[in-house]
Structures are given as structure tokens and as C-alpha cells.
């Protein structure tokens, strides 16, 4: 048992770090390295790996103190997949060498990570995936196609789930790897979506060699490892305490206030119903973050994602309807590669179209409802006709 560190000790350590590495004169990367090495990166991680083994709830203390001192951050937006999905999986299943190798440059933002999970033939049914990894000496040779990969065109590393045994039922034949995105045989192509732009990629893997040392967890344990990744994805979705009318409802409310000519009594109650729903979702996210901070993680993460998807779609739909003639126009169909997604700053048509993805990406709304029904309410699971069938014999 390491000695307990109080909030006071923590604040002292932060001040010591800031004194030794003045953010005003230290380079960004040097500062982040020093912060990681002092265990002040992700506080709940173990000592030596950027943390101090503290409760997650203390993280805001550190973030506030560093922000107040004008210290650079690790641009969490840009490395979200690394922080939210790859890191907890490496921590949970990696060996010491793997943890030492990957976690520091990941947290410091030197290396971007992406996720090679979904395939054209395996969306909601991820465990049916077909990308093959075949053992060849000390390496694995990987062939297949992955899809909906954000940041693949900038990523140095990928977390990958591949099929290593097609002769057993689908969940049992999977293995989890870390793949070098610069390795020969990795081809990244933008995937243009219905908004006109390409946030995501398709990734084609042709005879890509992955050293066995880059395997996370045992051969055939890939599904179990992937569950860790996906569970952490939902924790990350929880969100924080956003102010009232932030997000899509604020845009709609402004349109109503600023353009009296578009007000329609028949739409008024719909507007207010959505305003109430948005406020309820906001307060729920706030409550969820308080629960997480108090160390009571709840299943509200799935609920929050489900609620925001439905809300965004209804609000953006009403906005177009409200605007009438303006709603007939679209700002730009040009193929672009945005780094981050923002609902504001684009036309109402963009919001309407992009919101359609909210109920598909990161688990469809239907799958989320299944998860809530089965894991929270304890209702019977879906009837699985593929449960005891070897993967190679499944209809595709």
C-alpha cells in the first residue's frame, strides 16, 4: 500500500512541479513529460505510469491548478481515442514493457491512436468481424478491412481486434493487437459521409506484419480485452457540467429569439418540449459526472448517449422546419477533412444531417437500449442463433 496522498499533498506536488518547470519558459512537450513523470498526468493511474493511484474524482483538482497556471495541456480532443480507449486497455492487459513503451507518448500527445474495430460486415455485431491474423514465426500477418476509423490518417498506432481462429464460435476466436499504422500494407482512405465531408476513414490491411510482442492479452481473449475498451468509451461519453442552452438547443433558441418572423404558434410547444428535454439531459449529465467523481459509476453513460442522439435529431429537425426557405439551402458539399466535429459554425442543414450519425456511431440507439434493458433492468438477452456455431459456418 503506497501512503495515502491528501488533496493538500497533491496541491503541493503540483506547485512544486510548476516551480521546477515554469510553463512560461518550458517547452510544451518538456512540460508534459515532466508532468507525466511526476505522476500528475492521470492521477488514478499507478505510480511510474503517469499517476499516483488516486481516486478519479481528484483529477479536476489537477486540471484546474494547471489551467490556472497557464500550463499547456495534452490537447485531449485530438487524442481522445488514445486517452479514452487505448490507454485503459494497455493498462489493463499490457505487460510492463508495453505500458512503458506506449503510455507516456500517448498521454503527452506525441503519438495519436486510432481504433480498428468496426468492419463493413461487423457493425453492431462486432464479434463477427472477419479481419484475419495468422501466426508466422514471431509475427502475425493481418489481412482485412476496417471502417469508421477517425484519426487513422494521423495516427501512429491502432488498437486492433482480429480473428485468429475461425473454427470456434465468434467470440472465442478473436485476439487484440496494437498495430503500427506506418507499417507496410496499411492503407488509409477517407470515407466520405452524407454531410459531404470525411471525418472518418476506411483502413485496408494487406499482409501487415504485427510482432507478437504487440499483442494485448492472450490469444483468443480479444473479446474480453475489447470489452474493457468499449466500457471505457461509455464512461468517457458521460460529459461534464455544460451551461444551460449549450449545444444544439442554444442554436434553436437563438433562432427563435432573433428571428421573430419565423415563430409559428404550432411549433412553440414543440420548441419548449425540446428545451425541457435538453435541460433534463444536461442536468442528467451533470449528475452523472458527480456520480463518477464520487466514485459511483452508473450505467447512465449509455443512457446519456442515447438521450443526446435523439435530442440532437429532433432539435435539428425542428430548426430546419422553423427556418422555412433558409432551410432549403446547404452551406457546402465540398469534401473536407475536419479535425473535430462541431454542430455550430455550420448551416442548419449540416446539423440536421450530422445528427443522423449520433444514433449510429459508438453503438446504435437500438443496441444501447438492448444494453440498458439487459444489463440494467436484467431483462432476457436476445436469442442468439450464432452462439454455438463456428465463425466460419455463419451466414454472411
Amino acid at each position: 500500500m503506497p501512503p495515502l496522498i491528501t488533496q493538500h499533498d497533491l496541491e503541493n506536488r503540483i506547485q512544486d512541479l510548476l516551480a521546477a518547470h515554469d510553463p512560461g519558459t518550458t517547452s510544451r512537450l518538456d512540460f508534459l513529460h515532466a508532468r507525466f513523470d511526476a505522476g500528475l498526468a492521470w492521477l488514478h493511474y499507478p505510480p511510474g505510469l503517469g499517476g499516483l493511484g488516486l481516486p478519479r474524482g481528484l483529477q479536476p483538482v489537477a486540471e484546474k491548478a494547471f489551467a490556472a497556471a497557464g500550463a499547456p495541456d495534452n490537447e485531449p480532443q485530438r487524442i481522445g481515442i488514445g486517452l479514452g480507449m487505448a490507454a485503459p486497455t494497455i493498462l489493463g492487459f499490457g505487460n510492463d514493457e508495453q505500458k512503458q513503451r506506449w503510455l507516456r507518448p500517448l498521454w503527452c500527445g506525441e503519438q495519436v491512436w486510432c481504433q480498428l474495430f468496426s468492419e463493413p460486415g461487423a457493425g453492431s455485431d462486432l464479434a463477427a468481424l472477419a479481419t484475419r491474423a495468422v501466426r508466422d514465426g514471431e509475427d502475425w500477418i493481418v489481412n482485412g478491412q476496417k471502417v469508421w476509423t477517425s484519426m487513422a490518417h494521423e495516427a501512429r498506432w491502432a488498437i486492433l481486434v482480429a480473428r485468429t481462429d475461425p473454427d470456434v464460435p465468434k467470440h472465442q476466436g478473436l485476439t487484440y493487437f496494437v498495430l503500427d499504422m506506418t507499417a507496410p500494407g496499411v492503407e488509409v482512405r477517407p470515407l466520405r459521409q452524407l454531410t459531404g465531408e470525411a471525418e472518418f476513414n476506411e483502413v485496408f490491411l494487406t499482409d501487415v506484419r504485427v510482432p507478437d510482442g504487440q499483442r494485448l492479452g492472450a490469444v483468443g481473449e480479444g473479446w474480453k480485452v475489447a470489452q474493457t475498451t468499449l466500457m471505457n468509451e461509455r464512461v468517457a461519453i458521460g460529459g461534464g457540467a455544460a451551461p444551460r442552452e449549450s449545444g444544439m438547443i442554444g442554436v434553436l433558441a437563438s433562432a427563435w429569439r432573433e428571428q421573430p418572423e419565423v415563430r409559428d404558434p404550432a411549433l412553440h410547444d414543440r420548441l419548449l418540449t425540446l428545451w425541457v428535454a435538453a435541460e433534463a439531459a444536461r442536468l442528467t449529465a451533470m449528475r452523472l459526472s458527480a456520480q463518477l467523481a464520487a466514485g459511483q459509476p452508473g450505467p447512465e453513460g449509455s443512457a446519456a448517449k442515447y438521450a443526446f442522439a435523439s435530442l440532437n435529431q429532433q432539435i435539428s429537425g425542428l430548426e430546419l422546419e422553423l427556418l422555412g426557405e433558409q432551410g432549403l439551402r446547404y452551406d457546402d458539399w465540398t469534401m473536407r477533412r475536419p479535425e473535430t466535429v462541431s454542430f455550430v459554425g455550420r448551416s442548419p442543414g449540416y446539423r440536421y444531417l450530422r445528427a443522423k450519425g449520433n444514433s449510429i456511431e459508438g453503438g446504435t440507439s437500438e443496441i444501447l437500449l438492448n444494453i440498458i434493458a439487459e444489463r440494467v433492468l436484467g431483462l432476457p438477452g436476445e436469442i442468439r442463433v450464432d452462439k454455438d456455431v463456428a465463425w466460419k459456418d455463419l451466414p454472411r
Partner: protein
Amino acid sequence: MSEALLYSEPEEELSAAVADLLADRAAWASVLARTESAEPYDTGLWKTLGGGIGVAGLLVPEELGGAGASLREAAVVAEELGKAVAPVPFLGNLTATALLLAARESGNGTAALADDLLRRIAAGEQTAAVAIPFSRSPDTTYRGKVSVTPWPPREDPHEARLTGRVTSVADALPADVLLVPADGSIYVVQAADAQRTPVTTLDMTRVLCDIEFDDAPGQMLAIGYAPLAQALLSAAAVLASEQLGLAEQCLKTTVEYVKTRHQFGRAVGSYQGLKHRLAQLWVQIAQARAVARYAVSTSGDEQVIAVAVAQAHCSAVAVQAAEECVQMHGGIGFTWEHPAHLYLKRAKSASIALGSPARHRRRLAELVDLPAS
């Protein structure tokens, strides 16, 4: 602020104490049986709750013998009472207590009279109710049909006489004291001096009554209706938690039922047609908990918005939960001997009580500057 949306340890203890008592004394079969008895309110249970656990004097300051608690604790109690659709005058008594406290703080009336009543309420000696239709929302300009003689009132408050009628009053049947808004002021009238007629009520577990005042003696409590508005706002905030509790209970019993009911060789809860609706309900209830907690954790102008949001949201969620409870129980859910109807009737009535969801949305339109035209 966000920590305030959780339950504190003392709140959880209070909730557990109330839940234990209700499990013992307000099983649904006895609640149902009582609806057809001569005594629709369970005065024995109310005595234990009010005097024993002290829920009657929750809001009363400690120097007057109460618990000096806030709406947060009251909301926790309401949540449990909602789960049991318990026939006790908690909400009506709470509304009256809030009115007395607001009158006392306004300094615009007879503080001694308010203090005296608050002491009696906290001691469990008396139960009070506000004589106002249950459907009134906190923002309404109230014009009752009770008038006061002599007018203008004399200096001595004991001299007032009240005449007129108030309909559909909640929790007044078991009350000893009525707080009556009349001619722009609020009067205290002994319930025995008024004629109370029970109404055949949609919600059989919260029976309303019509009240007739015929030259009834009243003591002036406060000048103006401002304390009334504050009391109705507090009541609406706490009602949201009652609705939350009701919705939770409906979801719980429905989930239990669909796991055991088999048709076509499968538990009916294995069909996505039901599973998804129950999951959606669970999402709605998780949201109801956040908005209901917020409504009792904030104050001032922010509370006015928070309560309108909570009422608009929780009313709808409770009704949805009760309607799904009836539907997913199928035939048995439509029978008299299954409790689902008690919840449906309470949920629909509660959604109208203290302002309908539409009314609260209209209020929000003013509060957050989203005018209709």
C-alpha cells in the same frame, strides 16, 4: 452544484426509514382496500410518519420543534410516498408549512400565529392544508370565491368572517387547520368551522374535497398572496420527486412482471417491442431524478425555472411509466385487483396538480425568453 444532485447520507437514511415503515404499513393491497372504506386517508400511518419519523415538521425550524430541514429532505420522503401511493396528507401539510414559513419571513402578517401553528404541526398535534384547488400552478394569479367580512379587515385579526367556496382541495379532509386565501390575504380557519365534502376523485389515494365557508371565523395570517406563490412553488418542487418515486415503482413492478410472464414460449420481456420501451423509460427516469433533485436544491429565480422544468418533465414521465405499467401487464393490468390502476390514477392526477406540463412549459416560455409570438 453537481454534488447536490446526488443523495446525501442523511437523506438516504431518511428515505430508508420511510421505506421500511411503508413496506410494513402501506402494502398496495391495504392501500387499495382503503380506497373503498369510510376513511380514505390513513390517519394512523400519518401519525407514525408525522410524529414518529417527524416528516410533518421537516421544514419547521428547530427552535419551533421541527427538523429544520430543507426541501431536499422533503423530496426524499415524497419519493418514497410516491412509490407506495400512500394515502397520507404529506404534500398538503408540506404546502401549508411552506406557506406558514413564507408568511413568517415576509413580516407582513402575524408571526406569532404562524409560529404557533408551526409548533403544533412539528409536534404532530395538528395537520394543515391550504384551501386552494389542487390544479392551481404556482404562477397563477389566484382569485378565489371566498370573501371576508368586515371589509376592510379590522385591526384585530380574530374578527374576520369568511364566506364562500373552494373546490377540489387536496389533503384537506384529514386536516385540522385550513389556510385560506381570501380577498387578497391569507386566513387561518379551523377545519371544524368549515363544511368539507369529499369529492369522488380520479386519484383514489389522494381524495379531494370541496370546502364551504359560511361566516366561518378566521384569523389573518398574512397580507397579500406572495407566501402562497412561494408555497405552491415548494409543493410543485416536491411533487416532482413524488412523481419520480411513482415512476420508479411502476418500472420496477413492470420489469419484474415481464420477466416472469411467458407467451409464445418466451418471457414477454425478451421481446424488443417491450425491452426497448422499458429501457427508454429507464432513461427518462434517470433524467427525472436529476431534474427533481435540482428543483429542490436551488433557490430564487433559478428555482422558478428549475421547478417548471421538473414539473414539465416528471409529470410526463410518471404518466408514461404508469401507462406502460398497465399496458405491459396486459389483461391483469386492467383489473381492479391489480395495483397498476392506483398508480395510473395518481400519475395522471399529479400531472394536472399544481399546473399541467403544458402550463409549466408556457411559464418557461416567459422565464427563458422564448415567447409564443
